[in-house]
């Protein structure tokens, strides 16, 4: 048994309460401090209380989250694919690649359609952004960015400008001039500034506003003319990889997906996160609204695509197969929302029946990862971009009576 007595080495003003008392020499985070014994005890109690508060808050948060899952599950009276049993199965799809766009010197990372239904803009790891008339396969404009890995690009609604960005942490807008000889780079306008890479960008219904998402975990809305930040969106706890604007005439919402496995729906006006979904097992690489705006699909590194409905407030379908083990990088709906095109890191594009949950076609042809898949504005074709440096535009040829298995080859023109 030992006698524990603290030797008061000094007597003087306490660092905390300033009263003259016998002081205890203690170390707080490697810094020596002099507290009187009362203050030392108070500090210990506070620390304990704080730990308790954090723990109680955590417990409360967890229980509310669990309760929410319970409430969501209560209304789950039937599966989507069960209700879909009453509609006809789709015929077998024969798709044909009708255009192959070659010109990028490295991986194609992103592409977007122009509203004129035939032009596209694409960006690549080689730093180039190219505007093509995909119908004629002519390159109409080309810009060299000052950085490599241009991960995001978008066409302006007017068709008169494109936006792009990537490792430069910025989103820049280039007006497209009719004069082919004009140096586009000279007219470049830096609009968005993030503190990490730009993962995705999209014009709103206007050439004047751009919505961006970034590796810094935030999304932001910018005024193009002034570069002013109009609204920022915080809530993701990791990189945001993708966003999509709701297709409504009256809507002011968009959905984003990120490396925190969450898909968040945001109010553009207030900056608030209005709904959140977390059922994926890995990064969400891409999000896309169902054409009515009532639901959205996600593609993830967990090798599944999922459909979330905003009215049911839950995940309503999973599109997966045992044989698909590589992540889905990009998703898009056909015009009616019946088909979901998904590009994967195993170089294929799988086409899913959204309602029945089955796969209706698998398309080979790309020689490396498919990084982006977008259906054209009038739904007549879809374009896929790949790490094999090419872009392909494919369309539906016909239905056939044969089983799915035979009609899976991409034929080039």
């Amino acid at each position: 048994m030992c006698d524990q007595t603290f030797l008061a080495i000094t007597f003087g003003p306490c660092d905390n309460c300033s009263q003259n008392k016998p002081l205890m020499n203690i170390y707080l985070k490697n810094e020596p401090i002099n507290y009187c014994s009362l203050c030392v005890e108070l500090m210990a109690c506070q620390g304990l209380a704080k730990g308790e508060t954090t723990n109680t808050l955590k417990a409360e948060s967890e229980s509310l989250k669990a309760k929410l899952e319970e409430e969501r599950a209560k209304l789950h009276d039937v599966e989507l694919h069960q209700v879909a049993e009453k509609i006809d199965a789709l015929g077998q799809f024969v798709m044909k690649t009708r255009r192959t766009l070659k010109g990028h010197g490295n991986k194609v990372l992103c592409m977007d359609w122009c509203r004129d239904k035939r032009r596209i803009v694409s960006s690549s790891q080689d730093g180039k952004v190219i505007v093509w008339d995909a119908y004629t396969t002519n390159k109409e404009h080309a810009v060299t960015m000052p950085c490599t890995w241009v991960m995001a690009c978008a066409y302006a609604p007017s068709g008169c400008a494109v936006a792009c960005g990537g490792l430069d942490n910025k989103c820049s807008v280039y007006p497209l001039s009719l004069d082919k000889n004009e140096n586009l780079a000279a007219k470049k306008k830096s609009v968005a500034m993030h503190t990490n890479y730009l993962s995705s960008c999209s014009f709103t219904n206007s050439d004047m506003q751009i919505l961006t998402s970034s590796g810094d975990g935030t999304c932001a809305l910018w005024d193009v003319e002034s570069g002013q930040l109009l609204q920022s969106f915080h809530g993701h706890s990791a990189d945001v990889l993708s966003l999509d604007l709701a297709p409504s005439e009256t809507g002011n919402t968009f959905v984003s997906g990120g490396c925190d496995k969450k898909a968040n729906v945001w109010d553009m006006r207030s900056g608030q996160n209005v709904q959140s979904f977390e059922t994926h097992e890995s990064d969400i690489n891409n999000v896309k609204y169902y054409p009515s705006g009532d639901a959205f699909a996600t593609g993830s590194d967990d090798a599944t695509c999922r459909l979330y409905d905003l009215r049911a407030d839950r995940e309503v379908a999973i599109y997966s197969k045992d044989s698909i083990i590589f992540g889905a990088s990009s998703v898009d709906f056909s015009l009616s929302g019946r088909l979901l095109f998904a590009g994967y890191n195993d170089y294929t594009i799988n086409v899913w029946d959204v309602l029945k949950g089955t796969r209706v076609a698998i398309l080979f042809g790309h020689e490396n990862r498919v990084s982006t898949v977008r259906v054209s504005p009038d739904g007549t074709a879809f374009c896929s971009g790949s790490w094999d440096n090419t872009l392909r535009v494919s369309a539906y040829l016909r239905s056939s009576g044969e089983s799915e298995l035979r009609n899976i080859l991409y034929n080039t023109v």
Binding site: T53, R72, L75, T250, S282, D283, D309, Y347
Partner: protein, 459 residues
Amino acid sequence: MAKNNSLHPNSNGETDDSPNMLVYRKMEDVIARMQDEKNGIPIRTVKSFLSKIPSVFSGSDIVQWLLKNLCIEDQVEALHLGTLMAAHGYFFPISDHVLTLKDDGTFYRFQTPYFWPSNCWEPENTDYAVYLCKRTMQNKARLELADYEAESLARLQRAFARKWEFIFMQAEAQAKVDKKRDKIERKILDSQERAFWDVHRPVPGCVNTTEVDIKKSSRMKNPHKTRKSVYGLQNDIRSHSPTHTPAPEAKQPTEEELREQIKFWQAQLDRHRLKMSKVAESLLSYTEQYSDYDPFLSTPDPSNPWISDDTTLWEMEASKEPGQTRVRRWGFGIDEVLKDPVGREQFLKFLESEFSSENLRFWLAVQELKRRPIREVPTRVQEIWEEFLAPGAPSAINVDSKSYDKTTQNIKDPGRYAFEDAQEHIYKLMKSDSYSRFIRSSAYQELLQAKKKKSKNLF
């Protein structure tokens, strides 16, 4: 040799879930099943001309196994998956540098776990130089350098000219160690080593499967895990795959963050939800309604420009004369009319004929306001106020008093959303009143029938 418990999670109960590791784990699970004694692929030693080929199985063995065990319905799909697994280096053809799967009698061998990609290999060029140099010291015809390897060796000799003596010594030492091994063991190890380099220094033209998405690579670069030295230290050998090793601890949320989370969950709990059956019916009916307009479900009329190389469809859509299908779509809902510029025009024309166009004009003006640069917003807000809402406005609209009061407040500090409440009210009004009148109007009905009369002259 350090023993690694491959399934040990960290204190949070998490294992390394980074995207690449997820895929490696899945492939390794398949490999484990392939190597299962009972249900796996039969591995055998084949008697060749003068010698034995140890530990091999055929390409068709792999394809058949995949078809049976992974519920793959089609041979092409099985071949594709198998090729990907080979390209990542999990098994390899014993007589080819190109890592692809063939559905025939070609022989394949499993890669040793030491060389699995999940070990985060990033071998340096010096190691590659040692390897190529070592190969030239072996007097076997089958181990001769391929053309691309000889070129690489020449390049490396130039690049590492100053330390070539050291590299040569390393290669000699490695060759010595190799010679001491049992002949059969050596065959296997040599092929596995070669396959490793085929993954990390692929044949020109082949996909380099070690390339990573730069967005994900920062999370993978764990310096403690990256293996760079192939021929260096012998004592960091791991026989277990680290795809199940623990991830670094996540940051603990602060008190404030937790309070925000609680508020968020409470708001979510208060949300009104629809039953799944109702939602499903809604999704089905939407898709049904638009299936005639989906070029992937029904062939467009006259044709899909991408298939027929005829742009008539687009020319028709660009013209001011709306076709019957387009007009029919306006009947699906007010959003369809508002979305289509020709629809908007027709709707406006109809309302003007009824002297009730101010609602639509207000709605359009507010939409347009939100598309302006922020600089122009204050002026435009004033103009809209004067035109539609101010006392004595020339195109006065009727909004409920609550929205009116709010708007009066908003215009004192004019922003893009100054008229949001008023616009919402007007939209609801138009939807229930003006829109239904438009659809029932003779003007609309005529357009709907018009194609029947004009079809001969349309184009």
